[in-house]
Every structure is written in C-alpha cells, then in structure tokens.
C-alpha cells in the first residue's frame, strides 16, 4: 500500500500598504512572519526580506513614481518553502526580462542596479504575470530541511 500523502500545512499572511518608502519596514515584518512560518532561520528570512524589499522599493520608485497606489504582499508558507506574491497596479514592468548583469571594472563599480540582482540571488524562482491592470511578481524560496 502506498503511504498516505498528506498535504503540508499552508500558512498565509497578507498585507496591503500604500506605495510609500516608509512602509517598507512593515512589508519586511510580513515577510519575516512568512519566513518563520516556513521554518526559515533568521538569516534566510533576512535574505527574503531583502529581496521583497528591493521589489517593493522598485515599484514605489520606478513603478508608481510620484503617483500614489497600493502594494499587496502575500506570503504562502509551507515547511521549507516560502512563496511571496507582490502585486501592484503601476505600469507594466517585468523584472525577469532584464538581461543578466554585465561585468564591471573594480575601478568603476556600478552605483545602482543591485536590487534585481539581489532578488535573483536570493530566490529560487521569480515569475512575472500581468493580469488586467496588475503586475504580479511571484518569488519562491526553498530551504532543504537541515538534518537535525
């Protein structure tokens, strides 16, 4: 008889905030909640917070610019896996289409362009969809359970 397949417990956290830089810390706290629900350690949670913060920062600065709008962040936690959806209604932008970073000389380091690099390095998957007037950015982070 095959073993009974039980679906791992799913935990959701979701928050919608106005697109303001002062809200970034609040979004980080949400991501931290989600990461903890997935059983991630502090360092992994921090990496996820960084990645989401970079995405949200871009939406505020490059997406909505000075115009207002909202950002909704939803986390889905399963043991060892965190999925984060970041949804906004700014003009369409697909960060997954950006070409990979070009090399640079130590004598002339790049001043910007670190945000999407950080997202890519932290996350295992990044998907972009446009639905109606919404940008939906889905990021996924997996952590192997440590042998304890």
């Amino acid at each position: 008889m095959p073993p009974t397949k039980t679906r791992p417990r799913l935990t959701l956290h979701s928050q919608s905030v106005p697109a303001q830089l002062g809200q970034l810390e609040s979004l980080c706290n949400l991501v931290d909640l989600g990461a903890r629900s997935s059983g991630f350690d502090d360092r992994t949670s921090y990496a996820c917070q960084l990645a989401v913060c970079e995405a949200a920062e871009n939406i505020i600065l490059h997406g909505y610019r000075k115009k207002g709008g909202d950002i909704r962040v939803t986390t889905r936690s399963r043991p060892g896996e965190l999925t984060v959806d970041i949804v906004d209604t700014a003009p369409p932008f697909n960060p997954t289409m950006l070409p990979p970073e070009e090399g640079w000389a130590l004598t002339d380091p790049p001043v910007g362009g670190r945000g999407i690099l950080i997202m890519r390095r932290v996350m295992d998957e990044i998907q972009y969809r446009r639905r109606g007037n919404r940008n939906i950015l889905r990021m996924r982070k997996r952590v192997r359970p440590s042998k304890s």
Binding site: L24, E25, A47, V111, G115
Partner: protein, 110 residues
C-alpha cells in the same frame, strides 16, 4: 537609523546603526557627503549595528567610495553585522570594500 561620526586626524569613523533602506539612505548620503566636503576622505564605516541594508544603502556606500577614491581616500568597513555582510555579498559588492574585524584595525589601516 542612527549615524554617529568621530573625526580623527587622518580618519573619520562613522557608526551606522539600525535600518538602512530607501527610507533612510538619504540621511546617510547627506552625512557622508558632508564629511567628504570637509575633506574627510579616509572613512571607516562601523556597520556592527546595521540591522537591514538594502540596495539604496549600498548605492550610498558605492557613491561615497567613488567620490573619496578620486582624492585618494577610501571607505573601509569595520565589524560589519552578518546582515550587512549578507547584503553586500548578495549585491556582489564585497570585492569593493576592505573589511576589518574591529574599528581599531580599520582605523589603523589608513
């Protein structure tokens, strides 16, 4: 975020604590460029108390580095927190900054 600086003869030690993101990076930029304007170009950044460092903060670090390098200065990091190190590494900027295990050795490296 809190910024404290200690001006010495040849070096200025700047202690940054708390959260450095796009909400606060502007203040850091102001503080660091004020020091550069006063010709304090040998900078030690004590990042031991940094709890969050986003690309906006990293941008300030790199901008400052490029500025002081032009006049023979440098930005060196003292006892960065694990979170500061992680952000710098993820951004691929670890090659840019000399890191020292304590303020003393960072200051004495100039």
């Amino acid at each position: 975020m809190e910024i404290k600086s200690q001006v010495y003869k040849r070096v200025v030690a700047v202690t940054v604590t708390g959260r450095v993101d796009s909400g606060t990076a502007g203040d850091l930029e102001k503080a660091l460029s004020a020091l550069a304007n006063e010709a304090h170009n040998n900078i030690v950044l004590d990042l031991s108390g940094v709890e969050f460092l986003s690309s906006s903060g990293l941008r300030v670090l790199v901008t400052t580095l490029k500025g002081v390098r032009k006049v023979g200065g440098d930005v060196r990091l003292a006892q960065p927190s694990q979170r500061a190190i992680d952000a710098i590494n993820l951004a691929g900027l670890d090659v840019l900054f000399k890191v020292f295990p304590d303020r003393e050795s960072a200051i004495a490296s100039y």
